[in-house]
Amino acid sequence: MRFLGVGAALVLSLAAPSALLAQPDGRLIPPRSPRNASYSIDVRLDPASREMTGSEVVTWRNVTAKPASELRFHLYWNAWRNDQSTWQRERKLARAAPGRVNRPGDWARMDVTSVRLTGNDPADLTPQLQFIAPDDGNPDDRTVLQARLPQPVAPGGTATIAVAWTAHVPRTFARTGAIGHYFFLAQWFPKLGVLEDAGWNCHQFHANTEFFSDYGVYDVRMTVPNAWPVGATGVVRERRDNADGTTTHRYYQEDVHDFAWTTSPDSLERTARFEHPTLPPVEMRLLLRPDHADQADRHFEATRAALKYYGEWFGPYPYGHITIVDPAFQSGSSGMEYPTLFTGGSRLFAPEHSDDPEDVVVHEAGHQFFYGIVGNNEFENAWMDEGLNTFGEARVLMAWYSPMYLQQRYFGGFIPYVLRDVPIDREIYWNRFAGYRRTPKLDPQSNPSYRYSPGGNVTTYNKTALWLNTLERWLGWPAVQRTLSTYFDRWQFKHPKPDDFFAIANEAAGRDLTPFFDEVYRGSNVFDYGIQELRSDREGDGYRTVVIVRRYGEAIFPIDVRVAFTGGEPAVEHWDGRDRWRMYTYVRPHRAVSAVADPDRVLLLDVNLTNNSKTLAPLDRLGPTAANRWSFRWLIWLEDCLLSWSALV
């Protein structure tokens, strides 16, 4: 609570009424979203053959100002139909493994068998169906299906579409698939893209990016074998045992933009409740793997932390329930978010004060806010959910879990060891600074995310968290908290664009932050300020001190420069950081001790911290001391290494 500012108080004042919205049956009253793409789905899973048979009725409303002459569906699973899809080609470009494919049955497929318009003007659209590749023209990509309409749907008009399909569940790709008796089923149904005034925003499935769809009501009936519990988006409304040894689970949720589900006979079910004085309560349901049975409380605690702090800082979680899925080992489905449901990811050996499973649980729970409730386009602006959420996650982890320590894993990754001497911090560790420092120039963030270079996650996750944290250190937490809570409030259940966020940031900061966003968002230049020279020479009775601070990188940010002396007050200069260098001269009775560029470490994107400062005697002896310290420690490691290998001789 100590971080709460004016904006947070506003959020809390809004929170109480919203507590009335969530109903135990998945309804939200009044509707929070346009609900222009609603799905009623029936699906049957045969775990033995890994075949799925489904049918859906989509009620879609044209919310743009232009008539729609066609429909576009995502068939995401066709990205894993063979190795010629755009997803697979991009994986190859990144030199990544194509997936866990060893047998023909490991590939996926999604075959639409019919698309029909129902309602007043029924029509069979099946003969007109064709695959298109709007992003790269790849004729072998079958992830976007186009259906031409006999008559355009006018603005405000509604179409009801019945779709039937069959699909094969793959060995996991991109967090979707099956291993053993564990099934995690995401992006599993033909799903409409998003119609915008500029046309359909329905990208092919790309290796680097995720999803985008409209909000609606999901009413889904999943038929699985008896005794296979189901976890899904929304809440269960009905369970019906069938004569053929199956059970149909009906889940329902309003105002969500996706639906995912999981089933496995091995899952243990645990429940708990999140309660807060000013935020709406949330029923938590955890589907846990048996070998993690002792970690239930850690999963709930991490989810509570996210719901509490995101709720206090940004806005309340409105659904009243959340499902946490602890995924099966090697399922490849860990660490992914879906509306009202997410997957964690823990290990058999998960010591306290390390980051398993808290890191991933807080992150994915946080996505309920930035992704779930604020529905940006993940194909084009992935930073708006992943980056904002990485920033929030880091803040939560520090607020709730500090201290945590660096954990290393050995022996095939099974055996953890917590380095109690190395506490991990938010600014560097949780903001993932190391990854950014290695590849700061990969892409301008403003490029469409799906076109980022391989490894572009650094631009999406790390860079955003770092520039948001930089903003926090520069303008103060109240300004950033106001930005995020206003953004959350204005854009919940909508599809914001980057400029919407920047406009709110300018408004909340009370200043034009365009130059900052030009650097961090529209550019890919590197930030690197440093002290080039520090001299302090005797002159008369005093000392003449000269400090040259230099901008080594191309990116510009205003920084402070602090010069300390053996006596008297330090000198603090404010430099706009624009020129290549700036010299400061002081004539003082005392000799200079040190000069530091950006002494408060406001600019977290500065890729070289060591050159940010220089010091004169006596501190300069610390360099050799540090070198001794670390080289002797390293020597012990080396000697142990040599002994290990020579043990055989």
Binding site: I636, E639, D640
Partner: protein, 335 residues
Amino acid sequence: MSPIAAWRDGLRRVANAPFVLVCVWLMTTLVGLPLALVVRSEITQHLGTSLASESAATGVNHEWMQEFADQASGLGATLRPTVLGFAAVLDNLSAFVDDTARPIAIVGAACAYILLWLFVAGGIIDRYARDRATGVNGFFAASGVFFFRFLRLGLLMLAAYGLLFGYVHAWLFDDIYPRLTREVDVERTAFLIRAGLYLAFGLVLGAGNLVFDYAKVRAVVEDRRSALGAFSSGLRFVRRNVGAAVSLYLLDLALFAVTLAVYAFVAPGTGSSARMWAGVAVGQLYILARLWVKLVFWASETALFQGRLAHAGYVAAPLPAWPDSPAAEALARQP
């Protein structure tokens, strides 16, 4: 001679020859020190007169460490938090059993270090076999005599361990393990499978190590010139005394495990700068302990071999003129 008696005798022989322990510690330090000085120089150069020195000198500045490792090449890139305390031991053991690649400079140092061990091995085993002070001259004379024989034995070891790490390890962990665990959805099962494969690989590796140890012992004690002969006689000895040889090896392994366990408790953290040298001292004590364990392996195996086979009545009696074999000398001591 029972394995326990051989083990205790080995402990005694090592304790009676502290010079050997000091010598191999010096050798280890001298191999490592130049590389540590390179790292030291890289750190000094990187820090320059930066204030980052302050935090680097007094605790763990994780950010600086990452920055240094990212900007460094070769040796400096290995300066990561995992070099700290007991993590260093886990890191190296894990890299050993997982066959993880190390930077070329470290591989080079390891090769040089192994060559040095091959050189001193003759002198060390000779010293333990004679069970009396041989003096510096005697030590190095024996080292020189056996170096080229051990070099040839080293080629056999290279072939054997190369096969084990190059093919058997790859087969077990890159082929068998993924196949066994491909459809495993419970981590505990995968862990047990991996542990089983470690055990299987460890058994093969240990068996090879055991035979090569006795090959060295027989080469020295019986003054064998043929590396192949020493290997086959080592194998023969292990086969005929498998219970005792394996029991003794397990006792020595237990000593190794106890050493690691003790270090796990006392391994120094980063501490303040005032405790830096204390930490370095504890670390070096651990290295000494590791070396001591290695010597106990050799000394106890020598004792077992001498107790079981190379007794005075076993070998033909050559004229006992130094530096003839210890067996010959033992004969000379016969009443």
